[in-house]
């Protein structure tokens, strides 16, 4: 069991409240996943700049002077925002690959990268994770979150969701994949590498790989129904929106709500209880083996 939440804002007025609304949704899903929690938040973009979110168990040592060190490697300006065990490094676009290689060399864990997306995830109760990263104060256009009850791989920061396998793309998952080892090898042959033993990361890498090959988000999600075996309710985030797909058996719960202001996703209706205007929202259960996505 795991909990998934997602919120896509249609109007700018709610943007400052995105983190606050998502935090309530995430905490409500605690009993579906008390092991670890994470959130991917899509905020403002700046032309020519991109962001890399990293994690360290010893941030006070590892993050000290990291911006200056990375700046000299990249021969370009780097700014750094540290939040608890995570840091978001803003670098010139095009330098991501060099930066990620240099950061991994230093033993830092890469949470994700992109112009818009920042990922924060840790082991612990969702309320503690939310507090640690001050998720409530974060604004943005859309975000997805996950509370994890591990069934498949270790309870670690890297085992927590969301998983990001390409710029501004991430995936959260409720369920378990049964052909992930085979798919991991298939993807590796194409040069698509994963960082963990986790099944969900393979799902994320599959979607990223399809998009890199020219598929739309919708087509990539359709592909999961053919190529991935197992139980899944997936919510995937991109720079412009989010998508939802459930396997054909659809035993993992999912519910959606839509108003003029937002589209929301959750494992259970409970997570919607504090959303503004939920009483009048259109609420429905996404159909099995059917792709839904919203893009701005």
């Amino acid at each position: 069991m795991c909990g998934i939440v997602g919120l896509f804002l249609k109007k700018d007025e709610l943007r400052p409240r995105l983190g606050d609304l998502l935090t309530d949704m995430l905490i409500t899903m605690t009993d579906r996943g008390p092991d670890s929690a994470g959130i991917a938040i899509y905020g403002d973009t700046v032309d020519g700049l991109t962001k890399v979110t990293i994690q360290s168990d010893t941030p006070e040592v590892d993050f000290d002077g990291l911006d200056a060190a990375l700046s000299s490697v990249l021969e370009a300006p780097v700014s750094m925002k540290t939040i608890s065990t995570h840091a978001v490094l803003t670098i010139p676009k095009g330098k991501e690959e060099t930066a990620i290689a240099a950061l991994e060399e230093k033993g830092l864990r890469i949470m994700g990268s992109g112009q818009s997306m920042e990922i924060f995830k840790e082991v612990g109760l969702p309320k503690d994770v939310a507090e640690r990263f001050a998720l409530r104060n974060m604004g943005g256009s859309h975000g997805i979150g996950h509370t994890r009850m591990a069934t498949e791989s270790a309870v670690t920061t890297l085992g927590a969701h969301p998983f990001s396998t390409a710029d501004d793309q991430c995936l959260v998952h409720n369920g378990s994949l049964s052909n992930h080892n085979q798919m991991r090898r298939t993807l590796a042959k194409k040069g698509v590498m994963t960082r963990t033993e986790n099944d969900t990361e393979v799902g994320a890498a599959y979607i990223s790989s399809r998009i890199a090959d020219g598929a739309s988000l919708g087509e990539a999600l359709e592909g999961t129904l053919e190529d991935l075996d197992g139980f899944f309710t997936f919510v995937t985030g991109t720079k412009d929106g989010f998508g939802v797909v459930r396997d054909p058996i659809a035993c993992k719960p999912a519910v959606m709500a839509e108003t003029e202001d937002y589209v929301a996703f959750a494992s259970e209706y409970r997570a919607f209880a504090d959303l503004p205007g939920i009483e009048a929202a259109k609420v429905w259960e996404p159909e099995p083996a059917t792709v839904y996505f919203w893009e701005r």
Partner: protein, 228 residues
């Protein structure tokens, strides 16, 4: 005058205890539950005459094991609503999630919206009326009772069915193993006329088709012995 129980002030357990005590008293007391916020297992285990209206949407296992009580959800219901219901009436004004009315033994589950997958799975005597559509694998291994659907049915309707009767007005995406269309006899039209009135459903008995078990899975077919 209804007794109001507000979930923004009272714990779930306190509310369920109050409802269960009222059910035991069998005094037809009337309750309203406000601010349900998708809570789990609300109004479950009521085993006597009591009337409960829930003013909003509920989570998993609402009105489970219901006996004689009347429960109405003025919103949508999460997975497993009215599971193993014995008798009484459960009404869902909105949609019901998966396995609504699972293993139900009696009473009426009246879903005004759609029901998703596995509606009436392993039903054992319950009557289920769905005013909208139902999802895949509905009435799987249904043994007894009636599933009446005003809309469409998803894949594998009535797979491995025993003696539950299925009536669908719209299209059926596919029938499950051993489920076949059957003739509509006078007693079926009579049954439908009665239950459609009880459920307040705007449909005519003649508009439905009946599906049931071909009974070919009841006994082992010796010609298949080589497969084992």
């Amino acid at each position: 005058m209804a007794n109001v129980l507000d979930m923004s002030e009272l714990e779930l357990r306190a509310i369920n205890s109050t409802l269960q005590e009222a059910a035991k008293a069998k005094a037809n007391d009337v309750f309203e539950v406000e601010n349900p916020r998708g809570s789990h297992a609300l109004a479950c285990g009521l085993d006597g005459a009591v009337s409960v209206t829930i003013k909003g949407s509920t989570g998993y296992y609402c009105a489970g094991m219901n006996q004689d009580a009347s429960v109405t959800v003025e919103g949508s219901a999460g997975p497993g609503v009215a599971e193993n219901m014995m008798s009484g009436t459960v009404t869902i004004e909105g949609d019901a999630s998966q396995y609504a009315g699972a293993t139900g033994r009696g009473g009426l589950l009246n879903i005004k919206g759609n029901a998703s997958s596995r509606c009436g799975i392993s039903m054992k005597g319950i009557d289920i009326v769905v005013h909208g559509n139902i999802g895949h694998m509905s009435a799987f291994m249904g043994q007894k009772g009636n599933l009446v659907v005003l809309g469409d049915a998803g894949d594998a309707l009535g797979d491995s069915l025993y003696e539950a009767r299925l009536f669908v007005r719209g299209s059926v995406k596919s029938l499950g193993a051993d489920c076949v269309e059957k003739e509509m006899r006078p007693e079926h039209l009579e049954f439908l006329a009665d239950i459609l009135v009880k459920a307040g459903a705007d449909a005519k008995p003649e508009e439905f088709k009946r599906y049931g078990s071909a009974r070919t899975l009841y006994n082992f077919n010796i010609d298949n012995a080589d497969a084992y």
